[in-house]
Amino acid sequence: MRWDIHYRETWLHRTNPSLKLLVMMSIFILVLFLHNPNVLINLSIGLFLLFFIYTGYPLKYLLLFFLPFFVIFVSTASSMTLFGQGTTTWVQWGLVHVTKESFLRGMHLGFRALTFALLGLIFSLTTRPVYLFYSLMQQLKLKPKYAYSFLAGVRLIPIMLEEFQTVQNALKVRGAGHSGTLEKVKRYAVPLLSQSIRRAQRIAVAMEAKRFSNETKRTFYYRIGFSKYDLMFLFSMIGIIMLSYYAATVFPYIPVTDVR
C-alpha cells in the first residue's frame, strides 16, 4: 500500500495473499477466545519480531508505523484499568476504582489490541492490493466486478486526496463567505463526494466500454498460486503459537491464567 517508500521484498511478500488473510483471520479469532495473559504476551512478542525483521521496511518507518499502536495500547489498557470491576482494590479515588483484576484485564486488552494491530500491519505492509484481489478472485472466487471495483477505488485514493486540495484552492480563489463548522464540513464533503460519485460512474462506463463483463470467462495477468513460501508462512505462524503456549506454561510472567 505504501507505494512511495522503498522496501525490500521478503518471503512474507511472496506468500499467497488469500492464505495470508485466512491464517491471520484465524489467529485473530483465536486471540478473541484467549484469556491467558501469558500466552498473549508471548504471541505479541512473536508477531512483533516478525513485523520488525521480516516486513522489509527501513527501521525509521517501522518505528513510525508502530508509534500509534503504542498509544492504542495505553488508551485501551487504561480505560478498563480505571473503571473496571474487581475485588482486590488498589486505588479508590472518586469514580476511579483500580483493582488488581481490572488492571490485569486492562493489560490483557492492551496486548490484545496490540496483537490485532500487528497482524493487520504485517498484512498491509507485505501485500500489494492488486495481488490481493487477483488472489481473491483466483483462490476464493470473488466476483470480478467486486474485485476490479475495489482496485479502481484504490487507484482513486491519491486522486481523491488531491481533489481535497483542489476544493480548497477553488474556495480560496473564488472567495468564501463566513460560515459555521457544520457548514464548512459540508462545503468540503459535498464536492468531494459528488466528484467521487461522478468519477465512479465515468470509470464504470469506461470499464464497460473496454468490454468488462461479469459473465464471460476471463484470463488473469497475474497468476497467484502457492509456493514454498506459503508453507514457510504456515509453519512459522503455527510455530509462534505453539511456542507462546509452551513458554506460557513453563515460564509464566504472572500467576493468572484467566483474566475474566
Binding site: 478473541l32 480505560s79 481490572s102 490485532f116 493487520g120 492490493p129 467486486y146 471495483s149 463526494l193 483474566v259
Partner: protein
C-alpha cells in the same frame, strides 16, 4: 433499463468509491478517537458512530439491496489497507456492522429513505459493534454505572452522526443533482420522448 440480477457494475463501483472516501475518514478518525479516549467517562463513545456512516450514506444515495453491507465492508477494507491502528479487527467489525445496518433497511423492504430508517440502521450497527465488543473488550466487566454511560453515549452518538448527519449530508448531495445519475431514469422521462 436493465434488469440484471444483483448490483450493476456502476452501483458497485460507486458504492466502493464512496466507501473509500469514508475509509479515509475512518482512518483519520482512529487517532482522533484515541486522542479523546484517555479523558475517560466514555466521551470517545460519542464519536464512535462515525464508523457506521458509510453504510447509511451509501444506501441513501444508491437505494438498492446489498449496498449498506458492501459499503461498510469496503470502508473498513479501505481503512485496513491504509494501515488502521486496529488492524484486522476492523474488517470483522465492518462485516458485522454492515449486516446489522442492512437488516434495518431490509426490514422496510428497501422502500423507505428517511431519517428514521437511517437512525434505525445506525442503531443496528451499534448493536453489531457491541456484540463484537462483548467478545473482545470484556465490556460486561465495567462497573454498571460506567457500562450504562458507555452504552448511552454510543447509541446517541451513532444516531446523531450516522443517522441525522448522514441524511442531511445526502440531502445536500441531492441538491447537486449527482444522485440523479446514480438512480435510474423514471417512466415519465421515457414518456416525454413521445411528445
Amino acid at each position: 433499463m436493465q434488469t440484471t440480477k444483483g448490483l450493476k457494475l456502476a452501483d458497485i463501483l460507486t458504492t466502493i468509491v464512496i466507501s473509500i472516501v469514508f475509509g479515509i475518514v475512518y482512518k483519520l478518525w482512529g487517532p482522533f478517537y484515541y486522542f479523546v479516549k484517555p479523558f475517560g467517562l466514555h466521551v470517545d463513545q460519542l464519536i464512535y458512530g462515525m464508523w457506521f456512516i458509510a453504510a447509511t450514506v451509501a444506501f441513501l444515495i444508491i437505494r438498492k439491496p446489498g449496498v449498506a453491507l458492501l459499503a461498510e465492508i469496503a470502508a473498513s477494507s479501505g481503512e485496513f489497507i491504509m494501515g488502521s491502528e486496529w488492524g484486522l479487527e476492523v474488517l470483522l467489525y465492518g462485516v458485522v456492522q454492515g449486516l446489522f445496518a442492512e437488516a434495518a433497511f431490509a426490514a422496510f423492504r428497501y422502500k423507505q429513505f428517511d431519517v428514521f430508517v437511517v437512525s434505525l440502521a445506525a442503531i443496528g450497527s451499534t448493536i453489531g459493534s457491541l456484540i463484537m465488543d462483548f467478545y473482545k473488550g470484556y465490556i460486561e466487566a465495567l462497573a454498571p454505572w460506567n457500562l450504562a454511560l458507555f452504552l448511552l453515549a454510543r447509541f446517541v452518538g451513532a444516531v446523531l452522526i450516522s443517522g441525522v448527519f448522514a441524511s442531511s449530508l445526502v440531502k445536500a448531495l441531492e441538491a447537486t443533482g449527482v444522485t440523479q445519475m446514480v438512480r435510474s431514469a423514471s417512466k415519465e422521462d421515457y414518456e416525454q420522448l413521445d411528445r
